[in-house]
């Protein structure tokens, strides 16, 4: 696809990297020559220097023939304007990053407005991050939650500690995953051990330090997590948010809706006033959070979850490290920059949220969906564990496919591949050996192979 990305900031860069890796023709536009150069030197893409809100520059970047224009410049108004301009020049689809909740609401409510801008997707990074954080707070045992099949199935990633229920167990021995327990169904489909991604078989032994991904329905997940650890599964009641950013506002809103007590620490008095106006149910504390006494006084050790949303990554990391030392609470750390990625991962931080990766990921997911609607029958594609594994959702079209209507245990699958889930007429099935794949099913396949194009590719040659 021909894609034009306007704005080479953090998000623009991540999107360009991802989409370039997937073989799209990309042109980036930014008025900062440095940003453009840095990208074009490392990626096989074209760069145009100049004001993205100028029609000549957009034309130079080739918006007339673009299948998609992604506006991720600084200001909402600018992004919307760029989309309008690109749409008028002939771009087929546009995506805008819109942070302002009012714009977001107004535009998403009016289809006429979206059509006149040619807007197919609006992305609000803060909201996406807040949603992801709220999911993590819902399942404190998980460090990552991904949702599949329109939210019917979720994938929970947890890091095993030495005293974890699953540590040291052979997968086929774990009664929770045995077939008679598979009512709603759940399955371990990925294990990351020492930077290596494994699709485990039945005789795989889990060890502490492994990152284990379990696929199941959300309802089943609460049951499962309760079994793992009664204390951790107890619903979070008190959440401390450090830093009163826009993300904090969204997160507090979601949490308050599900009756969770929220406390926000914010330094800026003006912002405190705003927050208390916007969130009457939340407790707003004015003060500098980088102060052990203040944190202790606000009951850090009594919290069920702590979310650090300060401006600087370093502050967030320090705060989380301190919180981990002082309390048992679930910790969520926001990290904006993604340099020293690997180092951050080795720190005892619990969950780390990278808003720009989330934003990029949701845009990339959309692009994949558009691309897949032409040609191959991959419905959606999720990259897991830094792209080292993939979860693909296939639609089974043909009756004559070699996988259709045969018990799974009779099929000869490729190595490092697992049929994780089948959705049949909206019903989720975590398949057993006797289950079959039928036409019109949606099948989720988890694999470390790249480039699967149809459900037939799951079989070994």
């Amino acid at each position: 696809m021909n894609i034009v990305i306007v704005g080479c900031g953090k998000v623009g860069r991540t999107i360009a990297e991802q989409l370039d890796g997937e073989g799209h023709s990309i042109t980036v536009v930014d008025n900062n020559p440095r940003c453009v150069n840095r990208l074009t030197e490392h990626l096989d893409i074209m760069g145009v220097e100049g004001d993205g809100a100028s029609r000549d520059i957009l034309r130079e970047a080739g918006v007339e023939n673009a299948d998609l224009v992604i506006a991720v410049a600084d200001a909402d108004e600018l992004n919307l304007y760029i989309c309008l301009l690109a749409h008028c020049c002939g771009a087929k689809n546009t995506i805008a990053r819109v942070r302002n909740p009012i714009y977001h609401k107004n535009i998403s409510e009016s289809q006429a407005m979206r059509r006149s801008i040619g807007l197919s997707l609006m992305i609000n990074p803060e909201k996406i991050s807040a949603l992801e954080m709220s999911r993590l707070i819902r399942f404190p045992g998980a460090i990552e939650v991904d949702s599949f099949a329109r939210g019917n199935v979720e994938m929970y990633t947890l890091k095993l500690t030495s005293d974890h229920f699953l540590s040291g167990k052979k997968i086929s021995d774990i009664s929770l995953f045995k077939e008679e327990f598979l009512r709603g169904g759940s399955r371990i489909c990925l294990v990351e051990r020492n930077d290596e991604v494994i699709i485990p078989g039945g005789d795989f032994v889990l060890a502490s330090g492994d990152k284990v991904s379990i696929i199941c329905t959300p309802a089943r997940a609460s049951w499962l997590f309760k079994k793992f650890n009664k204390a951790a599964a107890a619903k979070a009641k008190n959440v401390l948010i450090i830093g009163g950013s826009r993300t904090a506002y969204y997160l507090a809103n979601i949490l308050i809706e599900s009756n969770i007590n929220v406390k926000i620490i914010e330094k800026n008095p003006k912002r405190c006033d705003e927050l208390s106006e916007l969130l009457p149910e939340a407790l707003i504390v004015r003060g500098d959070a980088l102060n052990e006494e203040l944190l202790d006084a606000e009951g850090l050790d009594k919290m069920d979850a702590i979310v650090t949303l300060m401006h600087l990554d370093e502050e967030n990391i320090m705060l989380s490290l301190y919180a981990r030392q002082k309390s048992e609470a679930k910790c969520i750390t926001k990290v904006d920059r993604i340099v020293f990625d690997k180092i951050v991962d080795t720190m005892p931080l619990d969950s780390v949220i990278r808003p720009r990766e989330l934003t990029a990921e949701s845009i990339v997911r959309y692009v994949r969906a558009v691309k897949n609607s032409e040609g191959s029958n991959v419905e959606s594609l999720y990259k897991l564990n830094d792209g080292r594994a993939e979860a693909l959702e296939f639609k089974v079209v043909s009756k004559d496919s070699p996988v259709v209507s045969k018990p799974l245990k009779t099929l000869n699958f490729r190595k490092n591949l697992q049929i994780a889930c089948i959705t049949r007429r909206g019903k989720v099935i975590i398949p057993k050996g006797e289950d079959t794949i039928e036409p019109d099913d949606f099948v989720i396949v988890v694999t470390t192979h790249k480039g699967l194009r149809s459900i037939d590719d799951v079989l070994a040659d």
Partner: protein, 489 residues
Amino acid sequence: MNKNLVRYVLGWVLIVVGAMLMLPIIVAFIYGERDYIYFGLLAAVCLALGLISSRFKPKNTQMYVKEGYISCALTWILMSVIGCLPFYLSGQIPSFTNALFESVSGFTTTGATILGVDRQIEELSHSMLFWRSFSNWAGGMGILVFMLAVISQLSGQSNMYLMKAESPGPVVSKLIPKLRGTAGVLYAIYGAMTLIEFVMLAVGGMPIFDAITLSLSTAGTGGFSIKNAGLMAYEGHYYWQAVVTAFMFLFAVNFSVYYLLITRKFKQAVTSEEIRWYFIMYAVAVAVIGIDLTVNKVYPSALDRWHHSAFQVATFASSTGFASKDFDLWPSLSKATLMLVALVGACAGSTGGGFKVSRIIVLVKGVVRDLRHMLHPNSVFTVKMDGKTVKEETVRSINVYLAIFTFLFAMSVFVLSLDEKMDFTTNFTAVIATINNMGPGLSQVGPTQSFFHYSMLSKYVLIFDMLAGRLELLPMLFLFNRDCWSSKR
């Protein structure tokens, strides 16, 4: 520097050169010549070595500036050495230095020849003549660009550095987002235009072999001809010479303009400042020479004066280096005009050589800017081209380019002057002719003369100048930089 990566790139170069060597074999079979042995043998060796080398992909394939420049310089040296072996092994050019000179002259699209003294061009076999002209074509757009277009193992990533090192012009940018696509588009335009020229010449009644070789060497703006007398051998064939004139002119135009025309962006194509000045330069030079020839009553017919003026200016501006008349006999003003035109050269992003019109434009604007700045010390002026600000970095790099160019030029003339046999005009124009990849100079290296008489040292200096000129100085200079060779720095 990642030497393993350079080795890998050179492996692919060997494969491509091996494949190129197959073409003269076909020619040899058609004309029943025995030279296919040499080409076949070389092709086999190149392919074998290349396939072995390309089997071992380096762990780190990330290309950086250094690897780009060094790979580029080594590619061209390797290609030239392989290219000279058919001449040398077959004994058709008995001296290695001469064979190498001829091969470098071919690939760098210079078109200067050492033939015509002890050996006549006509004595070479058809397959050798084809190889000579084909080297013009291959060198014109560049072999690395070709590799980027066809070899998927090299596409993507950061191989833009390879293209930047090989393609002429102060700023090398892509036409479309994918590097492979860009290289493909360039070669498609290049191939199509070569084909059109061939058809036009063949329709005009030119013998097929002549038409093929002439199209190939015009396309690369090389200037190798299969006749000792060059284009003078087609005396009186105005149509043929006119077709060649038109195509020399067209191949020296920035190829991105053709891409803009194909994609129907006519306005952008027409308003290019570089093209405008290229046209003006061409028109003014033709007029000056035409009038000069008329005033000095050089040829009896007005048609001849203007026809040959148009032909010679096209050949010098595009750095092709054909001769439709012995211009060495023309008045001084005409000769000076031709040499100046050759120095300015073609447009950036074309197959032509020279300093490049766009560099001259930026240089002049930069000088004007700095002079104005001296009068108004607190003023801020930006250099603009095509309505866009030229980066300060680009302006500076062009100044540096001029400095290196002048230095190399002066040193080359100095070393050439050690040779007592040659006069100053000869040495001076020989350097202009080689460093700009043009071909013939004046006096003893004039269009009816040959570079044969130069000493071995001079020939190697000129070989270096040709390579440096084709690769726009930097890759050849970095070969001598210790930093580039160290794996630690």
